[in-house]
C-alpha cells in the first residue's frame, strides 16, 4: 500500500499534487463564501474545453525537439482566417464551424511549413525565435486585417469603414455550435458542453494515433536525440517541420473551438497573449521542454483553468469587492511565471543527470 502511494506521488509529482489540493480547497471553501459550486464547476469545464486544444498544440513541437511553441499566435492567425472567411460566407451552425476549421487547415499547413523551415535554421534558439514569430505575425496581421477584402457588414467597421473590427460576434453564425451538441443541463447552474469536450477528446485521439505511427515515432526520436535519429536514417529536419505543421494546425483548430464557445472572434492584438496561458498549462501538467504527453495536457489545462476560474470568485466573495479581473491577472501571470521557472530547473537537472 505504501509502495502504491509512493508510486502515485512519484508519478503525479509534488507541484501538481499541491496545486490540485489547492484547487480542491477552493472548491470546498466555495459554498461557505456563497460561490455557487455548480456554476463554478461548469465554468471550469467550459474553460477547460476552450483551452484544451490550444494546450494540446504544444505537444507535437515539444516532442519534435523544437521546444515550447511560443509562436502559438501564428497558428491562431490561421484559425482566425478560417473563422472570418466562414462568417463572410454567412455559414451557420455546425456547417459554419466545420467550414471555418476546413478553411483554417490549409492556412495552418502553409504557415506551419514556413515556420518549421525557419526554426530549422535557428536550432538551439527555437523558443526565442518562436516568440518573435508569434509577436511579429500579430503585428503583420494587424495591418492585414485592415486590408483584406472581407465585405460582410457583420465584420467590418460600421459606417462604410474598411477593414475588420477588433471583435466580431459569432452569435448569428456558429455560437456554441459545438458546445450545444448533447449538452447536459442540470438545474439552472450546471451546464456541461458535451460536444466541445468530445471534440477535444477526438483531437487528443488524433494526436495519440499520430505518435503511435512510424512517422510519429520518428518525430519523437528526432526530438529525443537528433543524432541518433539521423544515424538511423531519419530526415531530422523533415520530422521537425512535420511537428511544427501539426502544432500550427492544432492551434488553428483550437482557436475556432475557443471562439465558438466564447462567442467572439478577436482580431488584431487578440492572439498576442494566447501563447503564455497555453505554455503554462502544459508545464503545470508536468511537461518539460523536451517531453510532453496528452496526460500533461489534460491535467495541466484542468489545473490551470481551475485555479484561474476559482481563485477570483472565491477571493472576491471573501473581500466583498469586485476585484476579480485584477485577481485573475495576478493569478494567471503568477502561474505562468512559476511554470516558466520550472522549465529551467527541469532543463538543468536533465543536463546534469
Amino acid at each position: 500500500m505504501m509502495e502504491k502511494i509512493k508510486d502515485f506521488l512519484e508519478a503525479a509529482g509534488w507541484p501538481r499534487l499541491i496545486i490540485g489540493l489547492f484547487l480542491l480547497a477552493l472548491f470546498i471553501t466555495a459554498p461557505f463564501v456563497e460561490v455557487n459550486i455548480f456554476t463554478s464547476l461548469s465554468d471550469v469545464i467550459v474553460r477547460f474545453g476552450m483551452w484544451g486544444i490550444l494546450v494540446l498544440a504544444m505537444v507535437p513541437m515539444v516532442q519534435g525537439g523544437c521546444g515550447l511553441n511560443f509562436g502559438l499566435p501564428l497558428g491562431i492567425i490561421a484559425g482566425l482566417l478560417g473563422a472570418v472567411t466562414s462568417v463572410e460566407l454567412q455559414l451557420t451552425g455546425l456547417v459554419g464551424f466545420f467550414s471555418a476549421v476546413l478553411i483554417a487547415i490549409p492556412f495552418g499547413i502553409g504557415l506551419g511549413l514556413l515556420y518549421g523551415i525557419l526554426l530549422n535554421k535557428v536550432k538551439g534558439d527555437e523558443m526565442t525565435i518562436a516568440l518573435y514569430v508569434g509577436f511579429s505575425s500579430v503585428a503583420f496581421m494587424s495591418m492585414m486585417w485592415l486590408k483584406l477584402p472581407y465585405k460582410s457588414p457583420d465584420m467590418i467597421w460600421a459606417y462604410g469603414g474598411t477593414g475588420l473590427r477588433t471583435t466580431i460576434s459569432v452569435e448569428k453564425f456558429w455560437y456554441r455550435a459545438l458546445n450545444d451538441i448533447w449538452t447536459i443541463q442540470i438545474g439552472d447552474h450546471f451546464y456541461f458542453p458535451t460536444g466541445m469536450i468530445i471534440f477535444f477528446a477526438f483531437m487528443c485521439l488524433l494526436v495519440w494515433v499520430f505518435f503511435h505511427t512510424k512517422t510519429g515515432t520518428a518525430v519523437t526520436a528526432a526530438g529525443s536525440n537528433p543524432e541518433y535519429a539521423r544515424a538511423s536514417g531519419v530526415n531530422v529536419d523533415k520530422m521537425r517541420i512535420i511537428s511544427v505543421i501539426l502544432t500550427t494546425v492544432l492551434a488553428a483548430v483550437g482557436i475556432i473551438v475557443y471562439e465558438q464557445s466564447f462567442g467572439f472572434i478577436q482580431l488584431y492584438l487578440g492572439p498576442f497573449w494566447m501563447a503564455f496561458p497555453a505554455v503554462a498549462g502544459i508545464l503545470l501538467g508536468g511537461a518539460s521542454v523536451h517531453k510532453a504527453t496528452i496526460m500533461n495536457v489534460i491535467v495541466g489545462t484542468f489545473l490551470f483553468q481551475g485555479i484561474l476560474t476559482m481563485t477570483p470568485s472565491v477571493i472576491n466573495n471573501i473581500i466583498q469587492t469586485d476585484m476579480s479581473e485584477t485577481i485573475r491577472i495576478i493569478v494567471s501571470n503568477g502561474l505562468i511565471l512559476y511554470a516558466l521557472t520550472r522549465t529551467i530547473t527541469i532543463k538543468s537537472a536533465k543536463v546534469k543527470a
Binding site: E3, E10, G124, V209, H212, T213, K214, T215, G216, T217, A218, T220, A221, S224, N225, E227, Y228, A229, R230, A231, S232, G233, V234, N235, H290, K291, I344, K347, S348, A349, V351, K352, A353
Partner: protein
Amino acid sequence: MPDDILLKMKNITKDFYGNQVLTGVNMELKRGHILGLVGENGAGKSTLMNILFGSTVIKETGGFTGEIELDGKICNFESPFDALDAGVGMVHQEFMLIPGFQAAENIMLNRELTQRNFWVDVFGERLSSLKNEEMIKRAQKAIDTVGVDLDAKTLVSEMPVAHKQFTEIAREIDREATKLLILDEPTAVLTESEAEIMLSVVRRLADMGISVIFISHRLKEIMQICNELVVLRDGKLVKEVPTNETNPEKISEWMVGREIGGGPAREAPVKQTEEMETVLKVRNLWVDMPGERVINVDLDIKKGEIFGIGGLAGQGKLGIPNGIMGLYPAGGKVEFQGKKIKLNNPRFALDSGMAFVSEDRRDVGLLLEEPIDWNISFTVMQTQEKYLKKILGGLIKWRDDKAIAKLAQEYIDLLEIRCTSSKQLAKELSGGNQQKVCLAKAFAVRPDLLFVSEPTRGIDVGAKQLVLDTLHEYNEKYGITIIVCSSELEELRSISDRVAIVSEGRIAGILSPTAPLKEFGALMLEA
C-alpha cells in the same frame, strides 16, 4: 597508523525505485593509495561513486543510506560542489565537457558552470571570452602534468576521444586541494599505449599523496597500479584484497561468482581472404571528422570476413565507418555489392544493407530518454518498415508495441542486458549495458555489412567474450561481413581475419592477426 585512512564508506545501501543496487557496502581507502574497483556491468560501481561524489542523480532518485567519512569527518555530500570543496574530484564514465569550448576553458571553468548547461546556454558567449593568457598557461601546465601532447587552445569538439579523457583528468588535478580522485573507466576509450600514459599519471598523483579510486574492466591495469582492490557483485562487496595477493583469474571469478575462461582467446580459424569476393571497395576516401580525420584510404573488404581496424586515437580509424555511413562529411569512392554508395547520406547507407554501432553511445548510439525496446527497434523500424502494422491499406503504419517488446526481450536474453524490463529507460542502464543495447540495435537490422566501433567499450570481461562470440556467430550464421574498429589490439587480433592499422588518416598496413605484436606496434608508430 589509523589516521592513514582517508576515506571510510560504511554500510552504503541504495535502491532505484525498489531495484536494489547496493547492499551494505563497507570500504576503506588509505592516503596515497590507489584502490581498484571492479565488478560486472551493472554491479553498482558507478552508483557507489556517484554516492560518494554527491551526484544529483542519487538525490533525485531517493537518496541512499549509510555513512561516508572523509579525513575522520562524516560527510554525506549534498551535491558535487560540496564534494569538490572537500577535495574530492571525479572523472565520470561519460564525458562532461563543453564541446564548443577550448581545453583550457574546460579545465579552468568552475565546475558549476560546466555542469549547469543552462547557464552555459545563456552566458556561453561571455564565458568563452574569458580566455586570457594566464588561464591558458595554467591549463597548459595541468595538461603537461598529465603528460600528453595537447594544445590547451584546442576545441573539445575537435579532439579525439583520448584527448577528451586527458582533458577531464587535467581539470581534476588543476584543483590544488584534491585529496581523492575518482576515475570511472578512464581508460575504456584508450589504446594500450595511451592507457599506459594514463596509468603513469595516476601513479604519479598517488605518489603526490592523492588517493585514487580507479574503475576499469581491464584487470591488467588494476593489477599494475592498484594497491588494493574491491570486488562488487550484484551490489555487494564480495572481496577486498591487496593486489599483490591475487591474480586476474581469481578476480574474474569473484566478479561473476563462477569460473570463467581467460581473456579473449582465438577460437575460429583465420579465414583465407585472398580468394574471397570483394564486397566493399573504398577508394581515396577522406572524412572530415573532428579529431579522427581520414585523409586517403583505400580498402577492399571481402564478403564474409571480419576485418579489424586499429590504430592510435586521433589517427582516423573511427573516421572510416563514420564517413562511409554518412555521419560526417566525406568524399571519395565507395562501392558496396557493386553499387556506388552516396556519401553524406545515412539513409542511403542503411538502405544499401550496412549498419553501424557508433563509438559515441551517448550522443549517437542511444535515445537516453526512451525505453530499451525503442532503442533497439527504431532503426530497423524506420529503414525496413518492420514491427509496423499496416492499417487502412497501409495508410497508417501503426507501431507494433508488442512485437517491439518481444524483439527487445530476445536481445536482453541473448546479450544478458541487465535491466528491470524492456521498458526501462536507456539512461537508467549502467554504461556496459547501454553498450549492449547499441549492439542489439545494429544486430536487429540484420545488415549485410556491419561496422562496429569500440564494441566492448566499458563491457566487463565475461560479457566481452559474449559480445565477441555474438559477433562471430552473426558472421558465421548469417554471413554478415563485419568491420570492427577498436583501440584494443588484443581484441582485434582475437576476432579479425585481417587487421588494418590506421596512421595519420591513411592505412599504414594490413596484417594477419597472427602476425607478431612487434609488427603491429611498428605500423602504429609509423609516421
